[in-house]
Structures are given as C-alpha cells and as structure tokens.
C-alpha cells in the first residue's frame, strides 16, 4: 500500500468537500432536523423509554446521516467521469476504498462534534454528564464501522442504476448489530448506569465489527468496482 497515494486521495476528498461543501452541510442539516423532529414529535425530553430510547434515537439519526453522505460517495466521481482516471492509475483499487473510508470517517466525526452536544442539550440535559472516555471510544469505533461498511457498499451501489434504493437496502441491515451495540454502550455511559465488564465486551464487539468490514472492504473492493 502506498501511504503517499492514500494521503493524496484523502486530501483530494477533503479539498473537494471544503470547496464544494456538498456532503458535510447536508449531513449536519439532516441530523439537526432529525433531532428537532424527534424532540417535538415525541413530546419533549421526558421519553417513555428513558435514556435507552434517547440513545436509540441518536444512533438511528447518525446511521441515516452517514447514509446522506455515502449516497454521494463514488457516484459523484462516476458521474463526473473522474473515476476513469483513478481506475487507470497503477495502485491497488482497495486504496480507493481505504481513502473513502478515511474521509467518510472524518466527515462523520466533524458532524458529530456538533451533533452530540446538541443531542445532549435536546434530550439529556437533566442527566449528569456521560463518561466521556467510554462515550468517545464508542463513537469512534462505531464511526469506523459505519465508514468501512458504507464505503464498500457505496462503491458497489455506485455502478448500478438503482443506487439510491440499493445503498440503504444493503447498508441498513448490515448496520443493525453496530447500532444495537452502540446504543447499549452509549446508554451505559449515562449515570446512574454503569456497564462495567459488559461495556468493555461491547466495545470489543464494535472493534471486531470494524475489523471484519475493514478486511472485507480491502479484499472485495477490487471486484466491486469492476465494469
């Protein structure tokens, strides 16, 4: 793997986003709108399901927010025909997946830097602050999983005519284990809950999920982008 090529591809994604402002603002608007709808649709902060219901909403909103960004991933390059230039280059095609995984992770983390405090303000302001180290570990591990899985499936869907339908149809079922685990870990971080060893086990599961989809993405992307 060429570190220089990977850096150049990630830099390209970041520069294109910085100047085009197409993905991150759309994701931020989406997650903000979702929180507002949840807040008013469910009648305030006193949710029937307690903190579990609140963290469930958080992760459902994050998974759909990632989908907003992933739906433009690769499709943008295929439509602009810049994809042909990348395919003709003498690098392992898995590098394109790795770079897109990195940039998706960074976009998601940037949106969450605003969305997570907003979420706490909207739904959990009456609770004590969370256990930050565990929360940050859970968010980062879940984001890596979303980026690995999402970039692989976005690459697959981008070559197909029905990609707007196919991407969510593939991505959402595969993200269920990640969402369930992320919800439980996030709930564990909110006092008076304490997950103890269970929380460690759940973080371990998220790391395993990331590893599996990182290996699958690396191994399969070459075949996914074949025309």
């Amino acid at each position: 793997m060429s570190a220089r090529a990977l850096r150049a591809l990630v830099r390209k994604d970041l520069l294109v986003e910085l100047r085009g402002r197409e993905v991150v603002p759309s994701m931020a608007v989406f997650v903000g709108a979702a929180f507002v709808l949840f807040r008013f649709g469910l009648g305030g902060t006193d949710l029937a399901g307690g903190t579990r219901a609140a963290t469930g909403m958080l992760w459902v909103a994050i998974v759909f927010t990632a989908l907003v960004g992933l739906s433009r991933s690769f499709a943008h390059e295929r439509e602009g025909r810049t994809w042909d230039g990348l395919l003709a280059a003498p690098v392992d095609r898995a590098l394109f997946w790795a770079a897109r995984t990195c940039s998706t992770f960074l976009f998601l983390a940037a949106v969450q830097a605003v969305a997570l405090p907003a979420f706490w303000l909207f739904f959990l302001q009456e609770h004590a602050g969370p256990s930050y180290p565990v929360l940050i570990a859970a968010v980062l591990l879940a984001d890596v999983g979303i980026a690995c899985l999402g970039s692989l499936l976005a690459g697959l869907a981008s070559s197909l005519r029905a990609r707007e339908v196919l991407l969510p149809a593939l991505y959402l079922p595969f993200s269920i284990p990640l969402v369930l685990t992320a919800v439980r870990v996030t709930t564990d971080t909110i006092p008076p809950q304490t997950g103890g060893f269970d929380t460690l086990g759940r973080l371990g599961f998220l790391a395993l999920y990331d590893t599996v989809f990182a290996l699958l993405g690396w191994a399969l992307f070459e075949y996914v982008v074949e025309d």
Partner: protein
C-alpha cells in the same frame, strides 16, 4: 520474451447488456507506431481505448498491452499506459496543480514533475486556477499534462483535438512527436494527424471496417 507488438487484440469484444460495443476486433499496434482510430459515433472507439487503459474489462477475446495479458496483468499495464479519455478526468474543485499532484502520488512520480508538465503544456500561469474555471481547451492541455506525468511508453487519447485552439494543437503535436512512444488516438479528424505519419484504421459496429 517481450512482444514486439505494443498492443494485440484478437477477437476482442465488450458487451453492454444485449449490445456488443466491440464485436470481435482484431488489431495489432507495433512498438513506436501511431495508430489513428476513426469511425462514426458508436463504432466502439472509446470502448476500445477504455479496455486498453484497463478501465473496462473485455467480455470476450484476447487483449495484450505492453506484452501483458489483460485483465490478468492489468497492474503491469497501468504503469506503461497514459490515458486521456473523452472527458478531461479532472476534479473541477481542485486547481490544475492539485489535480496533477494527485496523479503524481498515484503514479509515484516526483512532485517536481507537476510544474514541469504544466509548463510543457502552457498552463504554468494557470496552475492555481480551479479546473472548473478552465476552458475546454485548457482542460485538454491539463489532460495531456496528466498523461505525460509518468512518461508512459503507450499513450491512448480519445478525441484529443476537441476544443483545442491553435496553440493547444501545437502542444499536442509536440507531445505526439516525441520519439519512442506508441500512440493510439480515437479521432474524427485523422487528416489533422496526417503530418505525424500515423496509420489510419476505421471502425464500424465494433470491428475494423473491411
């Protein structure tokens, strides 16, 4: 032993759904030769170049580029080939220089060559301009700069004269006249390339015309 032929296609075909864009094409290009591929729209010229550039897989038949069979040895072929498609393959939000820096990294060539290539195609004064701000002719020059970055032994150009002004055509002429390079050009203007002494082959319905 390496083949004396830079490109060999035997019964090469590419199917899109029910339609054969290439339908059993036979073509051999010698090392150092310039071949001009002509034919009406839909004849299969672009499909042929995309297969030779390893962007597209063949559906049937045999194809070898620089002595390497495709698609099995595509990675070896990519190092030898420079490809400029019908579209300029430039990111509109990146500057001319940033576009080339990306490809310099992908082709593992020194970054200093970016400035050299921009200078060679006459875009040194526009290096900081975004590709979206460049005219069609300037984008074609940028594509030529990208193709030349890694000094390929085989160059594949799809309609390279489209949008080029007189100065741009001079740049293209000088690029094509560099010795020792095998060139395949898909074009509707074979007469313009006449002075370069290329062999003209005509395509129709995915094959060489009889």
């Amino acid at each position: 032993m390496r083949s004396p032929e830079a490109i060999v296609c035997a019964g090469l075909g590419r199917r899109f759904g029910e339609r054969d864009a290439l339908a059993g094409l036979d073509l051999a290009v010698q090392v150092g030769e310039t071949v001009l591929v002509t034919g009406p729209n839909g004849a299969g010229k672009t499909t042929l170049l995309r297969i030779l550039a390893t962007v597209l897989r063949p559906s049937f038949g045999r194809v070898a580029v620089a002595g390497h069979e495709l698609p099995a040895r595509a990675a070896d072929v990519r190092r030898e080939v420079g490809y400029a498609g019908h579209d300029p393959l430039a990111y509109p939000d990146l500057t001319a220089s940033e576009n080339l820096e990306l490809y310099a990294a992908l082709y593992a060539v020194p970054e200093a060559r970016v400035a050299e290539e921009l200078d060679r195609v006459g875009l040194d004064g526009r290096r900081g301009d975004r590709a979206a701000e460049l005219s069609r002719g300037m984008l074609q020059r940028l594509a030529l700069a990208r193709v030349g970055l890694h000094r390929p032994s085989i160059v594949l150009l799809d309609e390279p004269t489209a949008g080029l002004d007189a100065d741009g055509r001079d740049v293209l002429r000088r690029f094509l006249a560099e010795p020792g390079r095998t060139v395949v050009v898909a074009t509707h203007e074979p007469e313009w390339f006449g002075s370069l002494g290329g062999r003209v082959v005509a395509m129709t319905s995915g094959r060489l015309a009889a």
